[in-house]
């Protein structure tokens, strides 16, 4: 089970509405390389991991990704909550507004809703761990493109934190891949 903590993993500061930035950042909420996809991918792959160490890594990173999803939601929510309709229209977020008002929904930067087809759970730990390493690199790259697009230093600071975490997750998945390889080799030899 999970216990909710009534705080963010990393503080979020938003001083003024910026629906244009929200429109892009929302892809890390409900886009192909976003935090929902990351969290659900790891939390569902963990059931068929062959070693206790791999089950631990997938559980713990999957849980941290939930915290990142909440940080991204906090950014999006605060960037659009007080935005006047004229700004929402100018940012091209009027289609989103028609479906969701200023609510937070799982879409990519173009408004396409999240789909489980973004993720895989293959039953083959080597395939799954390779997917996860690629997913972390894609998330890292997305945060870099978002940092390039950001015109708000407070938001950029949060995006940098999230980017750094993808680098660490990639590292841990790489180590996990080695551990699982060793385990499978040993199983083959004996």
């Amino acid at each position: 089970m999970w216990i909710y903590e009534k705080k963010l993993e990393y503080p979020v500061k938003v001083r003024r509405p910026n629906p244009g930035l929200a429109k892009n950042i929302i892809t890390q909420y409900g886009g192909p390389d976003g935090e929902l996809a990351a969290s659900l991918r790891y939390l569902t792959q963990r059931y068929t991991m062959p070693t206790s160490q791999a089950k631990g890594v997938l559980t713990d990173i999957g849980t941290e990704e939930l915290a990142h999803m909440e940080i991204v939601a906090a950014l999006v929510y605060n960037l659009i909550k007080d935005a006047p309709l004229s700004q929402i229209k100018a940012a091209g977020l009027d289609g989103y507004y028609a479906d969701h008002d200023r609510a937070v929904y799982f879409v990519n930067a173009e408004g396409v809703p999240w789909t489980a087809a973004y993720i895989q759970s293959k039953g083959d730990p080597i395939a799954d761990l390779h997917e996860n390493m690629a997913a972390e690199e894609k998330a890292r790259a997305t945060y870099e493109w978002l940092i390039n697009l950001s015109d708000d230093p407070d938001v950029t600071d949060v995006l940098r934190f999230l980017r750094e975490r993808e680098v660490v997750h990639f590292q841990r998945f790489g180590e996990t891949l080695n551990i699982v390889h060793e385990y499978l080799d040993r199983k083959r030899t004996f």
Partner: protein, 85 residues
């Protein structure tokens, strides 16, 4: 949220972040005794800071994980995403 409350919350966030990062590290380096000692120390400090904060400002965790309260503080504002400061 008053400045003192925010200051304590920032300390908790920093301690817990260290604990999260060490957790992931220990998952792949369980025999690293220095990392384990660091994890134990940061966990102790985090528990202390959480207890101190919750006694003053109300529950940060639900489902029985916060100290006894004389009124239901869990639903006090702000929620974590209500952050514009």
């Amino acid at each position: 949220m008053n400045p003192e409350q925010k200051r304590l919350l920032r300390i908790i966030q920093a301690l817990e972040f260290t604990a999260i990062d060490l957790t992931l590290y220990l998952d792949t380096h369980p025999a690293d005794e220095r990392a384990l000692a660091e994890y134990n120390e940061v966990s102790r400090r985090l528990q202390e800071a959480m207890m101190d904060y919750q006694r003053r400002y109300g529950a940060l965790k639900s489902y029985g994980h916060s100290p006894p309260q004389t009124r239901w503080t869990w639903i006090d504002e702000p929620w974590p995403w209500e952050v514009s400061d």
